[in-house]
Every structure is written in C-alpha cells, then in structure tokens.
C-alpha cells in the first residue's frame, strides 16, 4: 500500500491555502512508508493547526481551532482514553490502541464522538459552523 499518493501533501497544502490565510508549514516529511504534514493558518480571528500523518495503517489527524490561547474545537482520532470511555464504557481499556474519531469543545472540557474526518471535511465544518462572531459555547461538533 502506498500511504500517500504522489503530490498528496502538495494538494493538501493547496486546499488549505485556498480556504485559510497565512498558511505556514511547520513540519513536512514524506518517504515511501509515510507522510507528515503539520501547519498553522488563520481563519478570520481564529488560529488553526492541521496535523496529519499517513502510513500503511491509515491516517492520523488533529485539526484544531483556537483563539486567544483557548481551544474552540479540536477534531482528532487519537486513542484518547476519554474518547475510548465514551465509545466503549467499561470495556475501554480493552480497546486502548484503537483510533477513535472525536472532538473536543469548550477549551477541552467537553469531548464528543464524531465520524471520521478528512481535512476537507474539517474545512467545510469550519466554514459552516464558525464565523468571526461565533462564541465558544455556540460550537457543536
């Protein structure tokens, strides 16, 4: 399996650049086994961080929006124990390495399960749910 098709990271950066401003690639790496992208950008008054790693096991992502040092919303699929507990309850520890798509809200005081998300899904969500006037409590995953 080829983890990232040729040009994948370039197309991802191009996609983000079309929809967000002040895009800065913080870290980028690619080889035949895996590809990494970590970038920061702006969406109106919000700061955005997009992190992705692609390898033979699939895609790990973290798409975060923050403002004045507080996290407005963060989508990721890490095997976070909070998300594992939400999904599996008392059986959570048996699933400890499973990737669980979820989101964090209200400066990470609230966690909800979500569907798997791509970077494009995240950008769509951003445009549909956040405007410069949005408040932290008004955000729903």
């Amino acid at each position: 399996m080829v983890p990232a098709p040729p040009g994948y990271l370039d197309s991802l950066i191009a996609l983000v650049s079309q929809r967000l401003s002040q895009v800065q690639v913080v870290e980028r790496g690619e080889n035949p086994d895996r590809a990494l992208l970590d970038l920061v950008a702006r969406y109106g008054n919000y700061e955005v961080r997009i992190s992705e790693i692609l390898d033979a096991s699939g895609r790990k992502y973290a798409y975060y929006v923050f403002q004045a040092g507080k996290i407005v919303v963060g989508f990721d699929n890490t095997p976070d124990p909070l998300a594992l507990r939400l999904k599996f309850g008392q059986e959570a520890r048996r699933h400890w390495r499973e990737r669980i798509p979820h989101c964090h809200l209200q400066n990470k005081t609230k966690t909800e399960l979500t569907a798997e998300m791509t970077c494009e899904d995240f950008l769509d969500w951003l445009e549909a749910n956040l405007s410069e006037g949005a408040s932290l409590s008004g955000v729903i995953c």
Binding site: V26, E27, G29, N31, R34, L36, D38, R49, S51, E52, I53, K60, Y61, A62, Y64, F66, G69, K70, I71, G74, D76, T78, P79, D80, P81, L82, R85, R93, W96, R97, H104, N107, K108, T109
Partner: protein, 111 residues
C-alpha cells in the same frame, strides 16, 4: 547491488590506490555515514524539543496518552500542552524516522 556511473576524473584518482571498486565502496561508505549522522542529529534536535516539553520519550508519551486518563486531563488543562494530539503526530513521525536512520547507519557500518 545497483549500478552507478563514476566520472572518469574520479576513476583516475582512485586507480592508483588499487582496487577501484573497494575505493569507491569505501568513499561511499564514508559519505553515507556522514549523511546518516547529519540526519540523525537533525532528528534528535527536533525530538529533544518534545522530550523537554513533555518530560519523557515518545514511547512513554504515546503509552500514557493512550492509557492514562488523568494524565490526559492534565495535558488538556494546561494551555502549553492542550494541543498534544498534533504534537504526538509530529513526534511519532520523527521518532520512527530516527529509528530507521539508526538502523540504516548500523547497516552501513556492518556492510
């Protein structure tokens, strides 16, 4: 084993030393070791930033963030570490790269 073309000017320098293939292999080994060490040093510098920030190795961090809910809550509540998920992604890539470069270096040294 692959075929590589070597410029005549270099071959003229190598020939007086005898076994041209051996000399080329030795030169390439020195160069490969130098490049591998450069790559390893660069990766170690990047990884040290994460190790200093989180006070542990990648393996420990990946384990704790997957197993220890209390630790994750601490990370989430600290503004400096609240976006640990993105850090974990970058750190994982660098840690795996570093392991592979150590392996390549070892392979070169025993070749």
């Amino acid at each position: 084993m692959g075929d590589v073309r070597v410029k005549d000017a270099y071959l003229e320098v190598f020939r007086p030393f005898g076994d041209v293939q051996g000399v080329v292999d030795s030169a390439l080994q020195h160069y490969a070791i130098e490049k591998a060490n450069e790559k390893i040093a660069a990766l170690r510098r990047k990884i040290k930033v994460w190790e200093d920030k989180y006070g542990c190795t990648y393996e420990v961090f990946a384990y704790r963030t997957a197993r220890d809910e209390e630790y994750v809550q601490e990370l989430n509540h600290n503004p400096q570490t609240a976006m640990w998920e993105g850090d974990l992604i970058v750190w994982e890539f660098q840690a795996r790269e570093l392991a592979e470069w150590y392996q390549r270096l070892q392979d070169i040294l025993i070749a």
